[in-house]
Amino acid sequence: MRTKAFGFLLLGSAACVIDPHYEDKVLPYGGDAALVESSTYITHTSSEMIFETSVVVLNSFYEGFDNEYLGADDFQIGGYEGTYSVEAFNGVHLERPATASSIVFLIDQSGTYENVDPYNTRLQAISKFFHDIVPPNTFIMGASARQGTLTTEPLEVSSTVFANDWRANGDYLFDLSHRTGGENAMADAADEAVDLLLQKTGPVRKEMVLLVHGSQDNSITPYEDLIAKARANSIAIHVVALGEEPDLNDLGMLSRETGGLFVACSTVKQMVKVFSELERLMNGALYVYKLRVRFKPSQGLVEPGSGWLHHIEINDPYGETFYNSIPVNIMIPS
């Protein structure tokens, strides 16, 4: 894989030398980032639990494909005091989905992004994501906040028609840069966005992407209701949490239960990397590391109905570790 990456870099460099007047658009540099593709409860006793998780690893210097060279020893699992052991580890290629997708993208417009994204890099990163969505895949963009500056609350959308006009949505996104404020109402907005997705019929995957930076979600809609509604309509909800404030428990549960991707970006560069690859991760082939983990807490019991937020850290043997911590949300069934 490293040879393949080197080959791509060499080809790219050669192309730049041959034609210095390049036309491609580029994003600011992205950082190494890792996403949770899925996390599944397997079994438990009162003294231990077993869960499985699949992780996608994005190297900052790879464009268009995933990291495939890590080993089991490169994954450190933690989060609670106790013993973590990796019982099974393997890499799996997941094929490109057979059907097209219709996507509702929701951006958190509550408060301000000034602290978590001081150069408003999300404007560029999201535009790239829109640019990547090509027919037959389509999207709608929306913004979420309550008591802020949106014209309709808790959800304002650029259009109610699914399309591929990244320039028009880019203009809308640019306008949103000056219209933040109010409180976080992402669950309410997502609940309304589900209704937008219900207009799509036929063989199409219905997906939603949430970019959240706000802390407490003041929605009226409980996350459990949103999950039930999304599952009933086969809607996958992908979550990109930016900064330290978002509630990783709720958001992790939302993506896990609806079959979406989940990533907690502690830096803007990680967010840039995620959005630069997100369309491929949703509509293309990807490579995941699948880990089966046994956890024995040193104190307390594993009780039915309890939620656990484990964390995976990646130690990349070929470079310094700049990956984000990977939150793995596991719910013990009642």
Binding site: Y22, K25, V26, N120, L123, G170
Partner: protein, 243 residues
């Protein structure tokens, strides 16, 4: 364009010359009053996904860019008319500010600089409409064939602590504010001729067409030119400026 110019030169060479005076000399021009006008509210960067707000299309002294031109002059006089070609080197700079939102309340000003090394070939005709014993007055108009041969671009953030190269692309105004293609300027001006020593003119240039196809951009500049004629007796007849 090349074929048209060659055809004009060929036809001109075949036509018998009735010039009463042929002057050759040197010219120095300085354009310091410029306007760059981008006709859009928001502009999408060419090589990034950034969008910038357009706010400032004013005429500016010095800060919108400058042009320094050094060249040669070939002037043919015929009665009250004259025709000039001025093959020149032009150091042509532009400076244009755009704004990127970095918070709901604050925008970052980004100055995009363009530096052209270019060969200019102004072609114009003039009409001398007045004279004293020493000075003749004329107005002239024509076109400038501009052949850029070297381009440099950069940009600078107003906030110097910003690691701007990490977040913005200095080539974002490619095919918007500049391109590497040759182009034409319209030229008009007013001139004072000092006997057969030289002339001083004020000249206005306007770029014909925009560098790129997506956004209409107009470039205006105002400057002065100083021309010194070499004391060569190439072809001279008595000229009657006041019939």
């Amino acid at each position: 364009m090349r074929k048209i110019l060659l055809s004009i030169l060929l036809l001109a060479s075949m036509y018998p010359v009735y010039a009463q005076r042929i002057n050759v000399g040197f010219t120095f021009q300085y354009h310091f009053l410029k306007q760059v006008k981008l006709d859009a509210e928001v502009v999408q960067g060419t090589h990034s996904y950034s969008q910038y707000q357009v706010r400032d299309n004013r005429w500016k002294f010095f800060s919108a860019g400058q042009s320094i031109v050094i060249g040669t002059v070939l002037q043919i006089d015929y009665k009250k008319f004259y025709a000039v070609i001025e093959p020149s080197f032009d150091l042509n700079t532009y400076n244009y500010s755009l704004y990127y939102p970095i918070s709901p309340e604050r925008d970052e000003r980004l100055n995009f600089h363009t530096l052209f090394f270019q060969a200019d070939a102004p072609l114009y005709v003039g009409y001398q409409f007045g004279a004293t014993n020493l000075i003749r007055y004329s107005a002239f108009a024509g076109v400038v064939v501009v052949l850029p041969y070297m381009l440099e671009y950069s940009f600078q953030s107003q906030e110097m602590e910003n690691p701007q190269e990490d977040y913005f692309n200095s080539a974002d105004m490619d095919n918007i504010l500049y391109s590497r293609s040759k182009y034409l300027n319209a030229l008009a001006g007013f001139c004072l001729h000092f006997a057969s020593l030289g002339k001083i003119d004020i000249r206005y240039q306007y770029r014909l067409g925009s560098p790129g196809g997506e956004y209409p951009v107009s470039f205006h500049s105002l400057g002065f030119g100083l021309t010194y004629y070499l004391p060569l007796n190439l072809r001279k007849k008595k000229i009657y400026y006041e019939d």
